[in-house]
Amino acid sequence: MKVIMSGNEATARGAWEGGARFASAYPGTPSTEILENMPQYGKDVYSEWAPNEKVATEAAIGASIAGVRSFCAMKHVGMNVAADPIFTFAYTGVTGGFVMVVADDPGQHSSQNEQDNRNTAKSARLLMLEPSDSQESKDFMKKAFALSERFDMPVLFHVTTRTCHSKGLVELGDREEADVPDYEPKIRKYVTAPANAKVLRATLEDRIAAAKAFSNDCEFNRVEMHDTKIGVITSGISYQYARETFEDNASYLKLGLTFPMPDDLIKDFCSKVDKVYIVEEMDPYIEEHVKMLGIECTGKDVIPKFDELNTDIVRKAFLGVEPETYTTDMKTVVRPPALCAGCPHRGLFYALSKRKGIMITGDIGCYTLGMAAPLNALHSCICMGASISQGHGASIALKDAGKDTKVVSVIGDSTFFHTGVNSLMDAVYNSGHNLSIILDNRITGMTGHQQNPGTGYTLMGKEAPEVDIPALCKAIGVKDENIITVNPNHLDEVNEALNTLLPKDEPCVLITRWPCVLKKFSQQDIDEFPTLHKTQCVIDQDKCKNCKMCVKTGCPALINTKEKVVIDKTSCNGCTVCKQVCPFKAIEEVTR
């Protein structure tokens, strides 16, 4: 049966067909939907959201050591968090087949950097599979578990935004069950004390050599011979762009297993064509290997080293052809993303934007948009969990230098659980004095609403214990009187808390607790936040002086023209921040 599936849906299906029994992940675009699609296979596969990618990887490693086929999934930067366990798990090898799905984001559609994790497979020495569409995502994932067991190596399943989020037709298959052996300790395999690890490092070379021999003649690497004037070597989504560019006017070596690389196959293919072109996104991963084999080829000297490729770019680079298009002199206006109407972060950032002389360290999530005009109230964003530790370092450094700049660190609930807890521990342990603000919107928001350890539910829909954030901060050592929880939609509450906590010279925590406006509210949300979505704001045009103060909240429900401001009824969720900032009391709250 054929169905239409995104690459992520197909990867989830492939895991089920391949006999996986355990899955763990932390959400991150473009990988999120892989685990979101697992609960439908809940009868056969247990799946969970972990607090971060390192934990997810370790949980899946544990399942593999226990003899069960398992996988973890993450976005490309999550791979950095998970690097510690995977670099060593490469040495030990697996018992149950193990797959680490890593989704790169060429073009940085939704990411803070663009890193090519094919390099990670090479440096950690992991088998690497690269599907080029939904069908291959399903097929390769299904086969990845047995491949991992056959060569006793973890598999890095390398996908990109375009393979994850594009849909195509997929021929479905059946599930292949794998036996789960009775547990037997394998101390020399899994205890990586130096004496064992040194042996494992040596045997890893043997395992790689066996996989390399396999790679030269396997179903993942395919030769398509047509015209032999040009030979294209490519992998992943780039194959599709190359195929469309050269059609049948070139021959192709389409690589699906790209670590270890199939040297003999590459040499044989290149000997049959006049010129060799390499078509790949981001780094010259294939190109450098082909050049190392002593083969002349053209790649990154004509196509970009960064950003996403497409057929237009490949065609222009190799054929010098550009499409005929319509042109216009009329200019469009950019449409940057903004905090939603009714977003609970708006009240906090509005209040912060009015404070002078503060440094605001930020983190990864929707609230990174607090940086944008007109709020401009977030000054840094590097990686998950960094706001509090950066803020700690900055606050110590500024004070030592005799500056009186106060440091505020802003972090979401899920990001706090991810890696912010350790940072707060650092700030408290080392007598820091930054104010940490935890934006608890009761869900993991940016990636499209995943449960987390603070929401009370699991990925598979079970009720779960909730992390008590104030109690956790207290246990870390923040004094009771230095922990305040507020409703961020109430500017007076926020300002009062800031007035209390900002002057203090010791670690303080402010928690803003209000659900994301886009969240599907639980009964608990409805009980705890009874006014949610019950009202809307309207502007009394007779009282309005058109002063535009409300517009400075940056709310997209406010439609501003030269003549007046109106509130869009279909967008307003009644957060009332605009009402609170109106100097003429021209905004009223009405029942929705």
């Binding site: 054929k2 239409i4 675009t29 473009p30 999120t32 559609h109 939704s110 569409d133 935004t161 375009r162 989020h165 594009s166 849909k167 195509g168 037709l169 194959y239 599709q240 762009y241 195929r243 469309e244 059609e247 497409n310 057929t311 237009d312 550009e322 499409p323 005929e324 298009t325 319509y326 042109t327 216009t328 009329m330 200019k331 469009t332 206006v333 950019v334 449409r335 940057p336 993303p337 903004a338 905090l339 939603c340 929707c366 948009l369 944008a372 005009a373 007109p374 940016m446 990636t447 499209g448 535009k548 517009v551 940056g554 997209p556 406010l558 439609i559 501003n560 279909t570």
Partner: protein, 190 residues
């Protein structure tokens, strides 16, 4: 390759191009075409420009619609039609929802929303423009705007051999089936 047809659905995050493209691709698949569809999720969803790209034919490789190659562009918002003009094939058609969503820079008064976009585009290309939100509102729910636009798209692409009513039944919640069928036919018959 030349038989591959390209459709772009463009708009602003939150306008709901997803359901329209789901029905579209499901119908194309049942008609026996190879189909690929691409969309970008993530930060752009928060009020940014979004596009859904659909390609179909005997064999489709890339999921991305290139410049100068869209047979039809359906713009859920008028400035988005202008933004994607260079993706229209020479001789292609635009279906434009006569509807504006002000971007943040316009709201803040640092940029002006360009006036006369639809008239400007009509001078260059074949344009069908109408107020899809009003058509949907008359049928009972402005949110059915996307299916009105889908109806207009199906007409523009000449995809008459597909049973779209059946696709709507298969992809829409039971209580919205009637509304969406009406919306589809309203768009188709414009």
């Amino acid at each position: 390759m030349s038989d591959v047809r390209n459709i772009l659905l463009v708009g602003v995050g939150g306008q709901g191009t997803i359901l329209a493209s789901k029905i579209l691709t499901s119908g194309l698949m049942k008609a026996g075409y190879d189909v690929k569809m691409s969309e970008i999720h993530g930060m752009s969803q928060r009020g940014g420009s979004v596009s859904t790209q659909v390609r179909y034919g005997e064999k489709v490789y890339s999921p991305i619609v290139g410049k100068g190659s869209a047979d039809v562009i359906v713009a859920f918002e008028e400035m988005e039609a202008l933004r994607w003009l260079d993706h229209l094939k020479i001789g292609g058609k635009m279906v434009i929802n006569d509807y504006r969503i002000q971007p943040v820079p316009v709201n803040l008064g640092v940029a002006e929303y360009p006036e006369g976009i639809i008239d400007h585009l009509k001078e260059k290309v074949d344009v069908l423009s109408f107020k899809a939100a009003e058509v949907a509102t008359e049928l009972g729910n402005p949110k059915a705007m996307n299916i009105v636009l889908l109806g207009a798209l199906v007409k523009a692409m000449g995809l008459d051999e597909i049973d779209w009513d059946a696709e709507i039944e298969a992809n829409v919640k039971a209580k919205f089936i009637d509304l969406n069928k009406k919306a589809f036919h309203a768009g188709y018959n414009l």
